[in-house]
């Protein structure tokens, strides 16, 4: 199998996975009583009407009396044409609400991802270059600390210290400050710091262990013997082979963290991003918005895994496509 065919197969597979996940979501929704019908019945009962008739009208209105396969096809069509319905709780189309959330989520996740991707390997390789010295131990300790401390707990503690006791950062996120301003930077420092400490640990450990292998390799000895400066030697000869295995785990880890932590960090710091949106929708019982947010996160995960696999095969020509 050639590279082209592999990529085609992999993209097709990603489409299948997304279809399966959407189907499972549909099954979950179809098997459960719809909250809006219950609500309609309650409303009718409260206003002295007939709850059964109101429930029936609501079912008719939402097309729930159609056969299952018609509803399924309709659901699929709406999902893939981005016709995601109306958010009751925000009084706007779901896609619009999600865009607004994404605007705030991007503000902290872009710096966070860039910092993790740049700092993680650098600190890891530095740690390997000074293996078993106090610098290495300090870096390792930091990595384990960041890895083990729950992000939301760390966020609360930092808010307590810097927001309440020292009063240098605002306790509540202010959406009115301009995007590129000092105030915005100040209020985003702590969330970004919390997320970076959480994600950098794994990257650092992997790049440390991977690059340790290349420290004493023949090409490093040759480079040193030729008088290449240490900085250049590490940047060109150690960093590059290290990045290949790293790239396989990096995307997956970042995505997992993104899904879990963004929700928590947004709730702790009061950032009105995607995670917060999902949470509010859950609490407000806004089915369309919950569904929309779930789909966004799912598609991000599927596409992320796809990109990771493709990048890996393109970066490392040694991988054969046959047995995958």
């Amino acid at each position: 199998m050639g590279l082209g065919r592999y990529i085609t197969a992999r993209v097709a597979w990603a489409a299948v996975v997304s279809l399966i996940i959407v189907t499972i979501t549909f099954v979950l929704l179809a098997a459960a009583p719809n909250p809006s019908i219950r609500e309609a019945a309650t409303q009718a009962a409260l206003q002295g009407g007939d709850p059964a008739a109101a429930a029936e009208r609501e079912r008719e209105l939402r097309g729930l009396n159609e056969p299952l396969h018609v509803r399924y096809l309709d659901f699929l069509q709406s999902v893939y044409t981005l016709d995601w319905g109306w958010s009751q709780h925000r009084s706007q189309p779901v896609t619009e609400a999600l865009w607004e959330g994404l605007y705030y989520t991007a503000q902290y996740s872009i710096p966070w991802t860039i910092l993790t991707v740049i700092l993680g390997p650098i600190v890891g390789v530095y740690s390997a270059a000074n293996m078993y010295s106090w610098k290495d131990h300090a870096a390792t300790g930091f990595a384990f600390f960041g890895y083990a401390i729950p992000n939301f707990f760390f966020g609360i503690i930092l808010l307590l210290i810097f927001g309440v006791w020292l009063d240098v950062i605002p306790v509540v996120y202010d959406t009115s400050v301009p995007l590129f301003s000092l105030d915005n930077v100040i209020q985003l420092i702590i969330p970004v710091f919390v997320l970076v400490t959480g994600s950098i640990g794994a990257t650092m450990r992997v790049s440390r262990n991977e690059s340790a292998e290349f420290q004493n390799s023949d090409f490093m000895k040759t480079a040193k013997a030729k008088g290449v400066s240490p900085l250049r030697a590490y940047a060109y000869h150690v960093m590059r082979p290290t990045l290949v295995p790293l790239s396989t785990t990096l995307v997956g880890q970042l995505l997992a963290l993104f899904l879990g932590s963004s929700l928590l960090v947004e709730v702790v710091f009061g950032i009105p991003g995607l995670g917060r949106l999902t949470f509010d929708a859950l609490v407000a019982q806004d089915t369309n918005l919950v569904l929309g947010a779930t789909l966004v996160f799912t598609f991000i995960a599927v596409v992320g895994n796809l990109v990771e696999d493709l990048v890996f095969t393109i970066l490392d020509p040694r991988i054969s496509y046959d047995d995958r």
Binding site: W13, V17, I20, I21, I24, T25, L28, L29, A32, F144, F145, Y147, A148, I149, P150, F152, F153, I156, I157, L160, V164, N209, A212, E213, L259, G260, L263, L264, V267, T278, F279, L282, Q285, T287, V290, L291, A293, T294, F297, T298, A301, V302, N305
Partner: protein
Amino acid sequence: MATKKPERFDQVDWSELSESGRLDLSINSIGMVITSLPVVLLGLYDWRFIGDRTDTFEFIGLSRNLESLDYFFIFTLLLFFFYLILPLAQNPRMTKYYWKEFKRNRPAVVSLGWLLIVFAGGLLGPLVISAPEQDILIGHQPPVFLSVDAANVANCVGDIVGGQCQGTWEYPLGTTRGGKSVFTSIIYGMTISMQIAFITTTIVAAIGISFGTVSAYAGGWVDEVLMRFVDIILSFPTLLMFLLILYIYGAGLGMFILVFSLFAWGGTARYVRSKSLSVSEEEYIKASRISGASTYRVVRKHVVPNTASSIITQLTLLIPGFLLAEAQLAFLGLGDSNIPSWGQLISAGRSDLAFAPWIVLAPGIVLFLTILAFNFLGDALLDALNPEAEAESE
């Protein structure tokens, strides 16, 4: 089998070799069956004969009720004892070797100690200490040796020195707003954490090992289908799926454990598959095949035991994720509010953070230490059980 003398190659255990049928059970399995029978019977009795509101042990005068999760927990503890602890005691030579390797890693020994404390606390604590009770009059008591401004405490249990309320030994880690002792709540939280750790690990191990070995041994299209299925499981956003299920159906701790363990075995299955593929190429597998061993016997006696070390390591590193997820959900107020978990405690103390930080800090630090300990333990087990992996990474 356990012998006092050092084991020798020329000692042949004939009882082991004469085991021909599949129904011949080892001493471990016999113990497992004998001890789990009363648990099953008690469970049936609880399920069929006594009302929902009657405590399980009322017939002997104890007011303690068991939930279905508790039964499952006891069952996993028995499994853990008969298939992990007992084999270690039966093979003192290997145990000594593992311990020697393990001991070289100091942080891991400390971590093991901490986890044993959490384990013992979670197991015995609820039997010794009565459950934390709400008492609004004694809310916000500070921890012992610390003091807070008496204005923040409604009724100070300890002495008031210079307008500062002193902590007492009665509430070593202070109390929450509702007057629950933080220390007792943490002990009860240990039970929850241990339940999560043990039950999820058992489910993940059971599914992961079966999928992995079946996939490796069946080969062909079965392998292909199973591994594609694993791909789907791996790319599933578990936390979101759980939120969706929670939203539609509502969910307690049992549902949490079920959903998270049903979506976490993908990595284990892949791992077991690749490991058993490499193990099945070994000479001793060929030898036992030639001697006429059935596939079941080869898998059961040779492949699974030889992949066990990597599986244990992998499972140890999975547990922190579950604990963290539970704490996160509890913090968001989406967890099971009937259980006294650490996450519930953290979320309960969040509004009083400014003047009563111990309510958040104490469970948060315990959670942090536990996650850290599991990570260190996994790292050390990796080195102790797979000497090759260590050689590779250095």
